[in-house]
Assembly symmetry: C2
Homo-oligomer: 456 residues x 2
């Protein structure tokens, strides 16, 4: 079957595709806010309707939270599952938006036209690239492009509480040969990329307790244990002089980057000076003997995300507080066990406490890293298809963040995922004035048409 008529159809119908996306963007499906529960249901119904119109056997399926949208179509070749999410982040501070976040419009910018609305990039615009590719294919060929399952979530921006139970309860129905996830971006905003390594996450909040009440430093300074000193000392020792994490066992199981991947990454010519310079920094801070890309994609890291205690208001209060608090998280790589990392950190902290201090733990949990098997020829096929669309080679990249769905596809459904997306670094997702470039939307649709043709 020929691809060119499908691409031509995509080009011709971009205005109509944009209007459909606008319809979806007008629904304020903010999943974290109960006031928008009906809107989330409305977005799910809108998508199920659209999928049925395309020939999918689709429905919005209830959960204790917001619905899941699931659609199936039969067809030839590999069974592919496509994942996206229809819920969006809250919009506050609303006064920083220069238009109603739920009144989408095309805006001209120096860098080209953009679709401005909450969810334009994350993730309604991205998920619609796949549906529009299916629509053009169906129009040209009369059938959908192969055996597909569509799986759209409505709780991604609010912690996905229903996701794992739903996947476990419907594993047989959802299992496919390979998952496609459209919730990532272009590398450095311009180069197509397939994310094949995702870091996991372990996190812990804890409180160091010393005296049973706040003390005055005039009466107790020096004599009484100051939990801010205890906490500073512990956290200040979490890395050694070379940037290596000092928690015992932290690097257990961590593997070296395969040579093939190292070459791919070297070819990216990642400009870490610019990456850091863009945020006002100049010195890479991580392990001294690792490249910057390794540091953010394939090495585990430890960060203090929050730290507080004592008097933090205006002026001075010479207090020795009773407690000091920290939130610490670890980005994990394949081979690391989140539970073991959490337990190792707890033991390390507790071993450093003076005898009359204690610690309480909150929110200790985590999710493992993910690593896709690029020996599967689908990866090279997709990479070639992306390169053809964007006019430059596509790359395998890592992702410093965690995308838990990819891990769940592996652990619950036993399938790898290809993470392909068209977002740009300046899309302002989760922030006011979110946008999605019309180029991202248009070439995104075309990219999926090419990939689906290549994977059939």
């Amino acid at each position: 079957m020929s691809l060119d008529p499908v691409l031509a159809r995509i080009d011709e119908t971009l205005p109509e595709a944009t209007e459909r996306l606008f319809d979806l963007l007008r629904i304020p499906s903010i999943s974290t806010d109960p006031a928008y529960k009906a809107d989330c249901a409305r977005a799910a119904d809108w998508l199920a309707d659209d999928l049925r119109g395309l020939g999918f056997d689709a429905s919005a399926r209830p959960t204790p939270g917001h619905p899941m949208v699931v659609g199936h179509c039969e067809g030839e070749g590999r069974h592919l599952l496509f994942y996206g999410h229809y819920d969006v982040q809250p919009v506050d501070p609303l006064e920083l938006w220069h238009r109603d976040p739920f009144d989408p419009a095309i805006e001209e910018t120096p860098a080209g036209p953009v679709i401005r609305a909450r969810g334009a990039s994350d993730d309604k615009g991205q998920l619609m690239t796949f549906l529009e590719a299916c629509r053009a294919w169906k129009h040209v060929h009369g059938t959908l492009p192969g055996r597909l399952t569509i799986f759209l979530e409505g709780e991604e921006e609010s912690g996905s509480p229903s996701l794992v139970p739903f996947m476990e309860a419907n594993a047989a129905e959802l299992r496919a040969d390979l998952a496609l996830i459209c919730d990532t971006g272009l590398f450095e905003s311009s180069r197509p990329a397939i994310t094949t390594m995702l870091r996991g996450l372990a996190k812990a909040e804890f409180t160091v307790h010393a005296a049973r009440r706040d003390l005055h430093s005039g009466m107790y300074g020096g004599l009484a244990r100051n939990p801010l000193h205890v906490l500073s000392r512990i956290l200040g020792a979490m890395h050694d002089e070379t940037g290596r994490v000092t928690v015992p066992g932290f690097y257990d199981g961590v593997r070296e980057l395969p040579d093939a991947m190292r070459q791919q990454w070297q070819s990216l010519s990642f400009d870490h000076a610019k990456y850091l310079g863009d945020v006002g920094l100049s010195l890479p801070a991580g392990e001294a003997d690792r490249t910057p890309l390794e540091t953010i994609w394939s090495r585990p890291t430890a960060e203090v995300n929050g730290l507080w205690g004592g008097y933090t208001g205006a002026g001075f209060k010479t207090v020795l507080p009773a407690e000091a608090h920290a939130k610490v998280s670890f980005r994990l790589v394949p081979g690391q066990d989140p539970e073991a990392i959490g337990a190792g950190f707890k033991a390390w902290v507790e071993a450093q406490l003076p005898a009359d201090c204690s610690v309480t733990w909150h929110d200790v949990d985590g999710s493992p890293a993910g690593e896709m098997d690029i020996a599967d020829p689908a990866f090279e096929s997709a990479r070639t298809a992306l390169g053809a669309e964007w006019g430059r080679p596509a790359s395998y990249v890592g992702c410093g963040g965690s995308i838990p769905i990819a891990g769940f596809f592996q652990s619950i459904l036993g399938m790898d995922a290809m993470l392909i997306g068209f977002g740009k670094d300046d899309d302002q997702i989760h922030s006011p004035n979110e946008k999605y470039d019309v180029e991202s939307f248009h070439k995104g649709i075309r990219s999926w048409a090419r990939i689906l043709a290549a994977l059939r």
Copy 2:
């Protein structure tokens, strides 16, 4: 002149003295709250009237803030200046008081009767012990007990903004041979004491800046400098393993405790296990080779009083913050220069910053420690007088906190001060349900009568 009739008169007129104190306590002279400006003026006028009634040439003297009350009387012997303050702390949270804080009353407690009201102990009850001693003396002998200057402040609880300018402008008028300050307490609530060493204070608030905006740990974790790590490392290194402060030059000029004072302090049998146990601690945390009393009275200390940065709300946000903040203070001892300590700390912090971090400083200031010359025989005379009243030897003690007025008397007026007070540890000054034991008030008045007799 005989002391006994004076003491008898004090005993006989205790009810009237208590009523006078109640009158003063009914005036809500909260200096920090502009709503009570007229009340502060009223308290000053009440005291000036009372002093004039006693035979002082006294008046309430305007300042840019609340008035100073100054009174003089001529007489024989050493010229003594008595200092106290008539302003009080705010009363919130009001709902924790079990009576109106400005409706004083005698309440019976298992430990004896107490005067319950805001300011009962800090400092209206204490300052009135001196005035009542003068009143009884005048009644018995027809004259005041020697050459006296009374100097009462109305801004002690709100940072004393007018104090230094007033003292400098009126130095010739205020200068005396020795100052008496009644704003301290009994040692361990039972033993009369003269405070002869006061720690000074240096303090600094600072912010460590890294990236120009908050970063996501998935994208920047490990690679970008985390100012919480920088700050933890610095503050965690502020003390070495033996509890000694590591800031270079910190101990410059610090003198060893004189043997005479060391013996005095040893005789106090300070129960540090109880002192720490009362607040839920068991291990002294300061310099390992110093006694607990040295640590809080005569050794300089460094404490983090506040520390904050990153995400401190509920749940988790895997942020690398742009900034981290700390408030640090140092208790100083004689020989240390607050400015040099502040400058040394700044230099030490800055030397530890990575090249792409910076620091901004706020509120760097301080006041020196004070040490009184106990070779002045007035000290031994007062100590003997106190011992006679309380039935146990009085001690020279240190004070871990700072009482700036004592330092100003030294630096501006060139006179030492004897700090003698009758407060108890459970007086709940600055807190709801402040009280002053009737015993403190009664024996406090008698103590001053004895001391004034001894110092004439």
